[in-house]
Symmetry: C2
Subunit: 213 residues, 2 copies
DNA sequence: TTGTGTACTGACCGAACGGTCGGTTAGTAT
DNA sequence: ATACTAACCGACCGTTCGGTCAGTACACAA
């Protein structure tokens, strides 16, 4: 039988199938709540076969974590700076980043769970890579805007960057909680959400000409 | 021996001691990673005694969850509206809320973990109570500011409220990840953090007189 | 003294866990 | 044909889990 890589790799057997099944389960329930038997069952294989491909549960988990971070940072690198004013570039970058995390929700959930609720040193370190990557890009943009006189110089650029990251990340992770809150009307439309958020961050909430009462 | 309640209730025996020990462990490691034996050991009692006071592990967990949410909402109710302009009241409320969650970090961690990473329907419902409480207070404030002409009327008030909640919550939960990031300089000082955040939200990032290039 | 309820415990249970064992299949190079 | 190897599996192991049981210690009321 010839080597057929033309077949779709959905529900692929072997190592790929194990990785996919494990990623889905770990993202949904977290490390402790997922058993190796459950992974084996979802991957349509046996538990010993998982141990044939991976040293132990931790190694399997970290393999998935590292792949998730890799994919996330790759997407970030592919997000090239758009042309135009700094504020336009900043808004576009923010929108692209939000799009990325919504598109790859499983990876994102995995990373964020480990970053904020994780107990292992190693997991936190891995997760930190991605956060700091988004962060330094944003800080550089804000600083650029400041040196060009486009942004106020009296604002800590890392704090402005933090606000953008916060709203995006929190939008993602609070979605299940917020979406059946009757007071929330913006949920479900990420692009308009991002447009208004950047509008507020750039122009402020206060009515123009009323900033110093 | 007389009943001596004059002793400090730190490491109190009985039901209180169990609750305190369980809260500390659950907040730190999460539901699955904490065993009843570990709780018993920390509470200086035996495992069967826990089952004498609580039906099972779930009931113990939810008892702590509900107490945490109760305490959080009580603190929120005690945060009365300050006098002054709407923007002043909004800034004060935000600062007070951030103070609360930082002061009761164990309760907050517990609630947020369940809200955003939890798997049980019940846990999410319990956690939702607190989030929506903060949220509706903020939305009402923003709407008031809009009807008074203090805030722009073209902004979705729930989205402005969401930004404030996001930055506060995310500040809390990302603290361990952010605080050893060399680009972050504001970490560790919650009140100035809040001051600048509200400044940005009210006045915007853009240099005055440069809002429409 | 005898009852009664509450707080508490050591010893134990079945189930599920992470992980291992010996062995089987199938492709492949010699 | 033979030898080797990666992929895979049923059955099993030691340990730990949540939870139970029979019983003890002690307060207080009758």
């Amino acid at each position: 039988m010839q080597n057929h890589q033309d077949k779709p790799l959905i529900n692929a057997g072997g190592e790929q199938g194990i990785l996919q099944a494990a990623e889905a389960l770990f993202a949904e329930k977290g490390f402790d709540a997922v058993s190796m038997s459950a992974i084996a069952k979802l991957a349509n294989t046996s538990k010993p076969n998982i141990y044939h491909h991976f040293k132990n549960k931790n190694e399997l988990y970290f393999a998935i974590m590292e792949a998730a971070v890799q994919r996330a940072t790759d997407l970030l690198d592919a997000l090239e700076d758009s042309p135009g004013t700094i504020r336009q570039r900043l808004a576009d970058f923010s929108a692209g980043q939000l799009e990325n995390i919504l598109l790859h929700d499983r990876s994102t959930q995995l990373i964020m769970r480990e970053a904020f609720s994780g107990t292992s040193e190693r997991g936190r370190d891995i997760a930190k890579q991605m956060v700091s990557k988004v962060f330094s890009r944003l800080v550089a943009m804000v600083q650029q805007g400041q040196s060009k006189g486009e942004f106020r110089a009296d604002i800590d650029p890392s704090l402005a960057a933090f606000m953008i990251v916060s709203t995006n990340m929190f939008y993602f992770q609070s979605k299940p909680v917020m979406e059946d809150n009757p007071e929330i009307t913006f949920s479900g439309d990420a692009s308009t959400f991002n447009r208004i958020v950047t509008d507020i961050i750039f122009n402020g909430l206060i009515t123009q000409g009323n900033s110093a009462p």
